[in-house]
């Protein structure tokens, strides 16, 4: 049985909510496993993801039809290669309006492509309202809130960002100390390369912090992937057993 192709959509209607860090960490998680991955950076003003990971993330502009075709015709391909889309705040409405208009949420699963929305949550009222709107717009999609400790700053917002099923458990991104954050953002710095071999001369205390951070984040990514795969397997087995009971039942 082939695995579904997951499309991870990292999004928030607000800027500076840790989206790019999350998208980057996810791409590097797959790289650490030496698995192919494709990233897409929708930020037309400051495409940081494409700049830091030029070999793994393309810049995409969905403000015209050509750019929309280039992006979504790639996202719909069932090649078992995970895709990570960093949806900037500026592109948020355009992206999800387009996704709704072309019925991506319905068509993708028919081709064994599973969209997963990782929503970078924060306490802003717009953020809360937009999350609720996404849930209603795409009720069948996995929508998981992501809490970045550096953004949340002690807030407990679980009530504002309810999860819809056991697959979509929240993720929590721990804080990076300011010095480590500066090193990570300065580039060229790769989490996957760091895991294989930290740069020479890297301070020991920062190395320990980085390893601890990566361990926590990657563990959550792995558990999320397992939940998605189990859910997909359960869906396939249920569909198969229903077809065994009723061979005339059409495949989804």
């Amino acid at each position: 049985m082939s695995r579904p192709t997951h499309v991870y959509i990292v999004a928030s209607p607000r800027p500076r909510t840790g989206k790019t860090l999350l998208a980057r960490a996810l791409i590097e998680f797959f790289r650490t496993d030496e698995r192919p991955v494709a990233g897409f950076d929708l930020d037309t003003m400051d495409p940081m993801l494409a700049r830091i990971l030029p070999k793994f993330a393309l810049h995409a502009d969905i403000n015209d039809t050509r750019g929309q075709v280039a992006l979504f015709d790639e996202l719909i391909v069932d090649d078992e290669k995970p895709k990570v889309v960093d949806v900037s705040a500026h592109a948020y409405e355009t992206f999800f309006d387009l996704m709704e208009q072309i019925d991506f949420a319905t068509e993708a699963p028919r081709r064994s492509v599973e969209p997963v929305i990782l929503y970078a949550a924060n306490s802003d009222a717009l953020s809360v309202k937009s999350y609720d709107r996404l849930r209603n717009r795409f009720p069948r999609l996995t929508l998981a809130p992501v809490y970045n400790d550096g953004i949340m700053r002690g807030y407990n917002l679980r009530g504002e960002f309810p999860t819809t099923n056991v697959v979509a458990l929240p993720l929590r991104i721990p804080i990076l100390s300011p010095l480590l954050r500066t090193i990570v953002d300065a580039g060229p710095f790769s989490f996957a390369e760091f895991r294989r071999q930290p740069p020479q001369g890297f301070p020991a205390h920062l190395e320990a912090e980085m390893n601890a951070w990566l361990k926590r984040v990657n563990l959550q990514f792995r558990e999320m992937e397992l939940r998605l795969l189990l859910s997909s397997l359960r869906g396939t087995l249920l569909g198969r057993s229903e077809r065994q009971r009723d061979p005339a039942r059409p495949r989804a």
Binding site: T65, V69, F72, Q101, I102, F104, E107
Partner: protein
């Protein structure tokens, strides 16, 4: 009692999307299993036939022989759609009057509908006035087709209403704009909208059309068909008693 249904799609000038509307009608009826045939009057080379070759004939509606081909073969089980050459709506209606077609519609022997595709210029409104005399017993649909970022319309609402009211029971239909690239790709593919959405080529083979552009066409066609549902188009051309009779047969 069953009777033949004829739909005329016309416009006073070219480029307002008349044949596009005809294509949406053919797809609409096809999806609802209503047998349909079409006549493209852009003789000798019709655009419509390129997209719906199996159900379309190209002819010249001003020629008697071609008029006979259409009207002597009307059937109560098949809807006839006539895509009238741009600028020939009024002359076509005159020809229909002369052969007794309008009278037959008045007597209830034929279900007659006109889809008048409006252009943005005020001249379009004059053609409404011109056609009013022929349409007392026809279903008349004024179609605003938003193509090419058309700024509808050059006239104000009051002026429009004054023309609109000249035709009894006229109904307005609004056709939204289809994404330009999607429209272009469907043209290049030369297939019905439904085939493009289903990613099928002219012979039913699998195609490789853009997922995004297919989505745009699907979304747009859904809106167009919602308008046809709103005006109960299937009930107009194929009343339920006729459907039941066809099923019974």
């Amino acid at each position: 009692m069953s009777k033949p249904a004829v739909i005329i799609v016309g416009a006073d000038k070219g480029g307002v999307g008349k044949t596009t509307i005809t294509r949406t009608l053919l797809d609409y009826f096809s999806a609802r299993k209503v047998p349909t045939r079409a006549f493209d009057t852009e003789s000798p080379k019709g655009t419509l036939k390129r997209f719906h070759p199996d159900v379309t004939d190209v002819l010249d509606v001003t020629k008697v022989a071609d008029q006979m081909q259409i009207f002597d073969t009307l059937s109560d089980s098949t809807v006839t759609i006539i895509d009238v050459r741009a600028g020939l709506l009024s002359p076509t209606l005159t020809a229909l009057r002369d052969i007794g077609f309008i009278d037959a519609a008045k007597k209830g022997q034929i279900t007659f509908s006109v889809f008048h595709i409006l252009g943005p210029s005020i001249a379009s409104l004059d053609e409404i006035a011109d056609t009013a005399d022929y349409l007392s017993d026809a279903k008349y649909f004024l179609v605003k087709n938003f193509i090419n970022n058309t700024h509808f319309f050059e006239w104000d609402q009051a002026t429009y209403n004054s023309y609109f009211r000249r035709i009894k029971d006229a109904v307005e239909i609004t056709i939204p704009k289809l994404n330009e690239m999607a429209s272009e790709q469907v043209e290049l593919a030369s297939v019905p909208f439904l085939s493009f959405i289903a990613n099928k080529g002219a012979d039913g083979e699998n195609a490789a059309y853009s997922f995004v552009l297919r989505g745009y066409v699907r979304h747009w066609l859904g809106h167009v068909w919602a308008e046809y549902d709103r005006i109960k188009l299937v009930d107009i051309v194929s009343p339920k008693d006729q459907v039941q009779i066809r099923v019974a047969r």
